[in-house]
Symmetry: C2
Subunit: 194 residues, 2 copies
DNA sequence: GACAAAAACGAACGGTCGTACTATTCATGT
DNA sequence: ACATGAATAGTACGACCGTTCGTTTTTGTC
């Protein structure tokens, strides 16, 4: 990895953290450059436009997510254990993001702004839903979950619990946000079991 | 209502629609003025700062929400019918917002930005959760719902279904987004019934 | 250590940002 | 109809926006 890719990575790393607070549109080339102690034009040269930067920020974050959530979860035994690992690693990811999850932030920022960034995010989130569904299906295969379980519905329900957790923790600061999410998760599992 | 309040209302009405797309921070005095065919300074004079505009936009939208969702729902008979009315009017509100629900958009935009706007939004959403919980409690009172129902958990679960619907409809454009939300809602009701 | 390529820089562009002033037009009560 | 205050417009401000261009510094290779 040459010097170029090295600083590009550093920029994306910093920018993806910053975007959690100010949003993808709120990112500014000048501010990023200042905070990273480089020149505006030097930073800009790594991307050819701001929108390209935004897309690459999303891709960078997605790579992280795969590495830190999906891949470790797949090491858990198939079935309920893997579903639990997936959810647990997901909310651990949430809590590790000091300024919120960039995907959750981007979901509402981009949902009405057509463009490359929106397309990239939508594709990522559809993939993520598919992963949840596939992992859920291993629970059906092991017999832990009902044979007639609607795995798609399960995946959507699981996602909605995570979304709500993000809201209750970050904006509302409810003291019982985490146990509430746990309760919802256990209820979901109870309904899925054989 | 004098001329001043009249145009102020018009500005807030337009701005609250615009904010669904560009966000509260993305609102710009100059652009708003241009689109409303008035001068930047003339528009600005109605608010003393951009952040005051943002707070008033949220308050304006909240008044609308009370008028179009909460008040009509309270006219439904106590109990499950009222819960159904609340949820139905809520998602009808969603679908009426051509560019997304401003509250959903603001939730993730403001969750890491301390300030008046964030405080106002958090307060609104806590109140809204309380309304859902209170309405749910009427279902316990009528005996339609279990006496030991956790109304708080019910309110959070209901909210999470709505959040997920917003995501699946607006960003992911899933064709079965609405029936999926309906299914989740019916499952929630089934678990609550006596 | 020379040399080409890659990377970072500095300055400048036209524009827009929020905000502050002053001036002008309008609406309203009498 | 007129006076008065409210409402709107005009102008300017310093700062920052994304982007371009030409130059300088750094890097990697023989």
């Amino acid at each position: 990895m040459g010097k170029g890719d090295q600083t590009r990575e550093a920029v994306l790393e910093f920018a993806s953290a910053r975007a959690c607070t100010v949003g993808l549109e709120g990112l500014s080339i000048g501010t990023l450059a200042k905070e990273l102690h480089m020149s505006k034009s030097g930073l800009f040269a790594h991307f050819q436009s701001k929108s390209a930067l935004q897309v690459q920020v999303l891709e960078h974050a997605s790579d992280r997510f795969v590495e830190e959530v999906i891949r470790p979860a797949l090491r858990a035994p198939r079935g309920e254990a893997r579903v639990r690992a997936l959810f647990g690693l997901w909310i651990a990811w949430f809590h590790r993001q000091e300024h919120g999850c960039i995907f959750v932030a981007a979901i509402t920022e981009l949902d009405d702004r057509p463009g490359d960034a929106r397309d990239a995010l939508a594709s990522q989130q559809r993939d993520w839903l598919d992963v949840i569904e596939t992992v859920t299906a291993t629970g059906v295969a092991t017999g832990e979950f009902r044979a007639d379980l609607d795995t798609r519905q399960f995946a959507l329900d699981l996602y909605s619990i995570a979304l709500m957790l993000h809201l209750t923790v970050r904006l509302l600061a409810l003291p019982d946000a985490i146990p509430r999410a746990d309760t919802a998760f256990e209820n979901l599992l109870n309904g899925a079991r054989a």
